[in-house]
């Protein structure tokens, strides 16, 4: 049967089980769009190609399968770059298909020609130009295998227009992937394994660092058995959240820059760290020179290039997390570790005093309250997609995820504007799930055009804008490290309620804690996408905080008194007792020198965004 390249592409995608794809048409991909119209595939028209890649990413992360994004050549392809990089840094299986000018024109700077494979080389797992119709089916199948095998990642397939238009015989079976065969999945020396077992069984104060890899390999069951077998407490990375229930007493919570204080203290005091499917990112370790100095380290990781990259480990078990954990399981001897677990409880007790959840309602609306109430009202069962910034950290701290793949967030790249499109993608992957977007007013404005996509597709995502009229996380850094000089962080925005209504969607506003519950109820009752403008306290900060590059246990903490009542005073946070790393001292000295030119340093004036709403 002879088909055109465009038809072959659609057939191949259908055979691969693709239902929905996200894209934006244009000249160089028109033949594919013509074929798409005749195929069974559902194409979601986005409003910006960045949205298409984020949607494919959200689709992939919610489903565990491959997400597909499509765009034309030139600007269509370059608009995908941010989304591709996001998927790369968070190991998300996304296949991007771009149109390209005809092969005869390649290299001639033709209209909308751009070397997208060259541009995306460092931010894709693999990419390839297809200029022969005979190669389309096999290349697309290979792209799916590469994207979703080993450590997943984005793959870009750039198809020239003449290849889309030409015809050839199509046989899905015959177009099987022909990829270089590589090493075994589980690949380590027996000595490493024995060493790991010895460390696991002799540790007095062990701690697991659980990462995204557990979800990627589907190791949730094996992981739980592993935790029970050794009675190991568990700390989570941001992307690991959900791989082990938050309600489990062995789950301590998130680690790192905005991790729970007791988790970071436990890491620094542990004598064995068992890192599973995580990569010791700088946001997780703080200063590497002082990171967990007393601890031996075991690293279970599929990507060999992560071994000893940031943290030197004593035993590296390179392989699929599930397979490695299953091999370790029979060798684990159970220990009770009453002292260690009691010590962690003690650390936790100290932090609980500082927790804002128990504070009385004083008329202010705090983001943490919003998220905590949202968690209660949705029974903790929603898929929550977050953007990047303060709201993201509050979500991680106050929404307790028990299900894998129920938190979708941009971790590695920290892409603002990720949340709304990714949530639309997640909703397509899980149409029956309750999908919430938790997003700041800044990030929301980066991709808010995708509300039109949600409206056109008739899908329901619930958007909770945590609106503090600031680029909150940057403001927080300015507060702590730049003497409250709020440069370019106060921010206005549209009336989000009217914006939603302009898109023929429902808009709600909430500025009192007592209204949160009813607002969420109204949102859940609505059939369409709802945008909620949660007008929260402007200058609230995320605590605890490890300053970038500082020791992990040197945290800026929320003070023990009831800070929420006096928020806005200058005494609403405590610097760590010991000196901050030099970088901050230098910045401060420099700033002081600049200010002090012949005059007494002025106290910086607080400026908030002008807003007429309150």
């Amino acid at each position: 049967m002879k088909l055109t390249g465009a038809e072959i592409l659609c057939e191949t995608l259908t055979h691969l089980g693709v239902r929905d794809l996200f894209g934006y048409p244009g000249g160089a991909i028109l033949p594919v769009y013509d074929a798409l119209g005749k195929s069974k595939l559902h194409h979601v028209l986005v409003r910006h190609e960045q949205g298409a890649t984020h949607m494919a990413d959200g689709y992939a992360r919610a489903s565990g399968g491959v997400g597909v994004a499509m765009a034309t050549s030139g600007p269509g392809a370059t608009n995908m770059v941010t989304g591709i990089a996001t998927a790369m840094l968070d190991s998300s299986p996304v296949v991007c298909i771009t149109g390209q000018v005809s092969s005869k024109l390649l290299g001639s700077d033709a209209f909308q020609e751009i070397d997208i494979t060259g541009i995306t080389m460092p931010i894709t797992k693999h990419n390839v130009v297809v200029s022969r119709v005979e190669d389309i089916a096999r290349t697309v199948r290979e792209a799916f295998v590469i994207a979703n095998s080993g450590r997943p990642g984005p793959v870009l397939v750039d198809i020239t227009k003449d290849a889309q238009q030409a015809s050839c015989d199509f046989n899905f079976e015959a177009a099987a992937p022909k990829l270089p065969v590589k090493r075994q999945r589980v690949n380590y020396e027996k000595a490493d394994f024995d060493r790991a077992v010895e460390l696991l069984n002799s540790a007095k104060r062990p701690l697991i660092l659980a990462g995204h890899g557990i979800m990627v390999s589907g190791a949730m069951r094996a992981f739980e058995q592993f935790v029970r077998a050794g009675n190991f407490p568990v700390a989570m990375t941001l992307l690991g959240i959900g791989c082990f229930p938050a309600s489990d007493p062995m789950n301590l919570g998130m680690m790192g820059m905005h991790g729970e204080a007791w988790v970071n203290h436990a890491i620094q005091e542990a004598d064995l760290l068992i890192a599973v499917g995580m990569r010791f990112d700088d946001r997780v370790t703080g200063d590497l020179r002082t990171y967990a100095r007393d601890a031996r380290k075991i690293h279970i990781e599929i990507d060999r290039s992560e071994i000893n990259k940031n943290v030197k480990v004593d035993s590296a078990l390179v392989g699929d997390a599930r397979e490695v954990l299953e091999q370790l399981l029979p060798c684990i001897e159970r220990r009770d570790r009453p002292d260690w677990l009691a010590h962690i409880r003690e650390l936790k007790g100290d932090s609980a005093v500082r927790d804002i959840q128990g504070l009385p309602d004083n008329g202010h609306l705090y983001a943490a309250h919003v998220i905590n109430d949202l968690w209660k009202e949705t029974n903790g069962e929603a898929i929550v997609v977050t953007d990047v910034g303060q709201h993201q950290m509050w979500e991680a701290q106050y929404y307790h995820h028990n299900q894998p793949r129920s938190l979708i967030t941009s971790g590695g790249l920290g892409t603002m504007g990720f949340a709304l499109p990714a949530a639309i993608g997640a909703k397509f992957a899980k149409p029956d799930a309750d999908v919430w977007v938790v997003v700041g007013d800044g990030g929301f404005q980066m991709t808010s055009c995708e509300l039109a996509t949600a409206e056109q597709e008739g899908i329901k995502v619930n958007v909770a804008i945590i609106n503090n009229a600031f680029l909150g996380m940057v403001r927080q850094w300015q507060e702590f490290f730049y003497d409250k000089r709020y440069a370019a962080t106060p921010m206005t925005g549209p009336d989000f309620v009217k914006l939603a209504e302009a898109y023929r969607l429902k808009g709600l506003r909430c500025n009192k804690r007592s209204d949160v519950k009813s607002t969420v109820e109204k949102t859940l009752a609505a059939k369409e996408t709802v945008v909620i403008d949660f007008v929260v306290e402007k200058e609230d900060s995320v605590f605890p905080m490890v300053p970038a590059g500082a020791d992990l246990d040197k945290m800026i903490r929320r003070p023990k008194q009831d800070v929420m009542l006096e928020s806005g005073s200058d005494k609403d946070w405590e610097m760590p007792a010991s000196a901050l790393p030099n970088v901050f001292a230098e910045v401060k000295a420099e700033a002081a020198a600049l200010r002090g030119r012949g005059q007494v340093a002025k106290k910086p004036v607080r400026k908030a965004a002008k807003t007429t709403r309150r």
């Binding site: 270089p180 065969v181 590589k182 090493r183 060999r304 290039s305 990259k309």
Partner: protein
């Protein structure tokens, strides 16, 4: 930091050198030399990369190279008995007085004169990178006009093959390879 020699077999497809160069740039690895050439197998090229790295750093370079889809196999020859060779062409100034001295040095280094004119000699020298460096040093006083070096190529001594090495071809799962079951696209 020490010199590490890695051999990478790569698919001979457009952009593969670009991928490798891009990887080294992105990860901030320090390349000493990089050579590439065909192998006995059609479609497969062989790269010799010399990097300046710590032992752990070399492992990371190796792992990163291996992650590239077009890279079929990576061997580290640093700690194996191996042969290292480089070729250099040196154009050196000579006068009637110095020509004999230069020819004598050429002889000592077992190098060959490949071009002669009234004012210069072009000498071809092969050997380890150190030997070529030495040759350059001794010719310097005469005045070197031009020098070109190929970068090191390397090969392990002896007949033993790496038993776990995967085949240097694109294969499908049903192709017959003794270890096909235990091999897969891992990273």
């Amino acid at each position: 930091m020490a010199k590490h020699t890695l051999i990478a077999y790569v698919e001979d497809v457009p952009g593969v050198l670009n991928r490798i160069a891009s990887l080294f740039r992105r990860r901030n690895f320090n390349i000493d030399s990089l050579t590439v050439g065909r192998t006995e197998q059609p479609g497969v090229s062989r790269l010799t990369v010399v990097v300046d790295a710590t032992e752990a750093g070399a492992r990371i370079v190796e792992a990163n190279l291996y992650k590239l889809v077009n890279v079929l196999r990576v061997d580290d020859l640093t700690h194996k008995p191996s042969l290292f060779r480089e070729l250099g062409l040196v154009k050196v100034k000579v006068t009637n007085q110095t020509r004999a001295e230069v020819l004598q040095l050429t002889d000592v280094f077992r190098a060959r004169v490949v071009d002669v004119d009234e004012a210069t000699l072009v000498i071809e020298v092969t050997g380890t990178p150190e030997k070529i460096g030495k040759f350059e040093l001794v010719l310097k006083p005469y005045g070197i006009v031009e020098i070109v070096r190929t970068g090191a190529v390397a090969m392990a001594r002896g007949h033993e093959l790496l038993s776990s090495a995967p085949p240097l071809v694109r294969t499908t799962a049903d192709d017959h390879h003794p270890d096909a079951a235990s091999l897969s696209m891992s990273v």
